[in-house]
């Protein structure tokens, strides 16, 4: 059976969203954050996106992945093309995570929803 851990389950914005989790295994695991993104009005054309950063108790980043999309305001929010990230941590230890916009030009609010999952 799968060893799977849900960090965020349709958690509403705005970003950033911070939390902690206890790592369940010393094995390499994959993680993903899915949601929507769009650039703020009156910003230059470009990408938008959502990223997740995992840090240890010292604040060192030990895991990262993101999802990006064309952030053009016309058309509104779009689901990001979310890619899995991969890392390995210490079982039983508590780690911090932060889900945030990839670029400062990205908008988010309470009508945006984010899901973050670890698959061991």
């Amino acid at each position: 059976m799968a060893l799977v851990q849900l960090l965020l389950d349709q958690h509403p914005g705005p970003l950033p969203i911070k939390g902690t989790f206890q790592c369940l295994s010393t094995e390499v695991f994959d993680f993903i954050v899915s949601g929507v993104s769009v650039r703020k009005p009156n910003t230059a054309l470009g990408a938008a996106g959502v990223e997740i950063s995992i840090t240890d108790k010292t604040g060192k980043e030990v895991g990262y992945t993101s999802g990006t999309i064309d952030g053009t305001v016309m058309g509104g929010r779009r689901a990001t093309i979310a890619q899995f990230g991969q890392t390995s941590l210490n079982a039983g230890e508590t780690y911090n995570f932060e889900v945030r916009a990839v670029f400062p030009e990205c908008a988010s609010d309470a009508k945006d929803f984010y899901t973050a999952t670890i698959i061991y």
Binding site: M1, A2, V4, S34, A47, T72, G75, F113, T115
Partner: protein, 222 residues
């Protein structure tokens, strides 16, 4: 679970081809997500996923606004008869109006499986139901992806039910009325028993519309 990231690219042109190596003869489930635009007309856009020259599936979405980028409905694909060693993955345009650009993206991930996954892919309209037989008890990963449209933009989405109980949901606020949109795909844990389940997919609110141009995918893997 053995998982392998095989590509992540700015999808600046199609076809896109990359090589990857399978590291096991286990069953292989391929996750592909992509975004594309419609060239000059409304219609279906997307990418065909080819492995070693054979089209296995198409990840598509209906684009109402030409020139506007759209994520396609991300998908899980079974790679038939996987063998250890090097293979070729190609993404090619599903339709003539499909185009790419500097702000289009695609990525792919492989999940190695000891047990045959459950994959349920179909077109709208919703709701839909079918049967799913779990071969074991414990936790599995449930995957949900799909598209729809709505007359008046408001928060809306899709949910999956097992024996009537909601076990997965994806939601967003679409930007344009009566314009098809792909919802964010989600991977969530689900607790199973070794039995047959009724599995269904429904809109989260009654105003979500879907038609034959909307595609859905529900997967359960272990």
């Amino acid at each position: 679970m053995d998982i392998q990231e095989i590509f992540s690219v700015h999808l600046q042109k199609l076809p896109y081809t990359t090589k990857f190596k399978l590291i096991s003869n286990a069953k292989v489930l391929l996750y592909v997500a992509a975004s594309v635009s419609a060239r000059n007309a409304a219609g279906l856009i997307g990418v065909n996923v080819k492995i070693d020259g054979t089209v296995l599936a198409a990840s598509v979405v209906y684009a109402n606004e030409p020139g506007s980028s759209r994520p396609t409905v991300a998908m899980l694909v079974n790679i038939p008869n996987p063998t250890v060693g090097e293979h070729t993955l190609t993404l090619e345009a599903t339709t003539q109006i499909t185009m790419t650009g500097s702000l289009e993206y695609a990525c792919g991930t492989i999940f190695y499986q000891g047990v045959e996954p459950f994959l349920w892919r179909f077109s709208g309209p919703l709701p839909k139901k079918t049967k799913f037989k779990s071969p074991m008890s414990g936790k599995a990963v449930l995957y949900l992806a799909g598209s729809g449209y709505i007359k008046t933009p408001q928060v809306c989405g899709l949910s999956v039910q097992l024996d009537g109980a909601t076990v997965a949901k994806t939601q967003m606020l679409p930007g344009i009325a009566t314009s098809h949109f792909a919802l964010p795909p989600v991977f969530v844990p689900v607790q199973l028993k070794p039995k047959e389940y009724d599995i269904g997919i429904t809109p989260t609110i009654g105003d979500v519309l879907s038609d034959e141009y909307d595609n859905y995918e529900v997967g359960i893997f272990y």
